[in-house]
Symmetry: C2
Subunit: 158 residues, 2 copies
DNA sequence: ATTTACCCGATTAATTTAGTCGGGTATGTC
DNA sequence: GACATACCCGACTAAATTAATCGGGTAAAT
């Protein structure tokens, strides 16, 4: 089953767009510093997100990324699928050839589980995440941290 | 999230015990050949299963492993927990310190997902798997294969 | 005694993930 | 049009984890 930092980073970054992207494009550098994700790694992930048309890019100064659809219409499952290839608990990627060409003893169990997970994540939209209490709280903390960092920079310049 | 071959192997091996173990202990060598899992690897997994008291071992010739409880009372989630440590989709093992000491933006989402998966797998007993059509079918094929292998061996000896 | 099969730790090989690097290209601003 | 920004892209490296091997034990049955 694939569900690692890669998928978590992707969802986090997309949620960052949903939270802060309403006033124009967000640069990966912004996401990188807010969410503590390596910039180059983000570039790799966003290449995949762009191919799946989950985000739109705007080049040049002031550019960045925007969600290609409203947050109501983007679901967590799509994001993970885009970067992780698939959410799949079987060992044979659903091919049923897990035991030298045949179905292994537990194939259907993992297949059922995968479906279960996919269904769960297909129901969660970015917009619904934005609404959540816990997301709001973390976002508020991140905004604070961002401001204090700016202060530090300004003080250092002064 | 941890759900790899390790956990799949463990569940498959335990299901093998549930399927064939009613007439006495099953050796790891038997499981190894039936399910195509490396013997030494099985030994590692069964060390963990034994520690969690999911199986009982019988040493010496004719020995092997038995389920320590009836299949009705052993659940897939326990097996995976035993070998994989935990089924957990969060990056911080539920510690909520995913972003330098604080909760990351998507922590609760992964936490919810983990609970969902765990709940799903906690409901599936070995006994219920044994009953399943698809498991019966695969098991029948494995038995056939086993017999033909024996024939080959006997022919070779002859 | 000898064979079977569990027991255990250490080590290695393979795979995957995470991250880096170095170069490009479009675009807005002065 | 020079310059800075920020996307774009492929190749490479490092780290972590998983899967598997190896070598030597020990309990028990025949």
């Amino acid at each position: 089953m694939r569900l690692t930092t890669k998928g978590r980073y992707a969802v986090t970054a997309m949620l960052d767009l949903a939270l802060y992207g309403d006033r124009g494009p967000i640069s990966l550098a912004d996401i990188s510093s807010r969410q503590d994700i390596s910039l180059s790694y983000l570039e790799q992930l966003f290449a995949k997100l762009r191919r799946r048309e989950l985000v739109r890019s705007i080049r040049g100064p002031g550019g960045g990324y925007r969600l290609s659809r409203p947050g109501e219409e983007i679901f967590v499952a799509e994001i993970i699928d885009a970067v992780d290839e698939r959410v799949d608990a079987t060992g044979c990627s659903g091919q049923s050839d897990c035991q030298d060409g045949h179905t292994c003893l537990t194939h259907h169990l993992w297949s059922d589980l995968s479906e279960q997970i996919h269904h769960f994540l297909s129901d969660i939209s970015l917009a619904s995440l934005v609404q959540r209490r816990d997301v709001q709280a973390v976002s508020a903390r991140q905004r604070l941290r961002g401001e204090s960092e700016q202060t530090i920079v300004l003080t250092a310049i002064d």
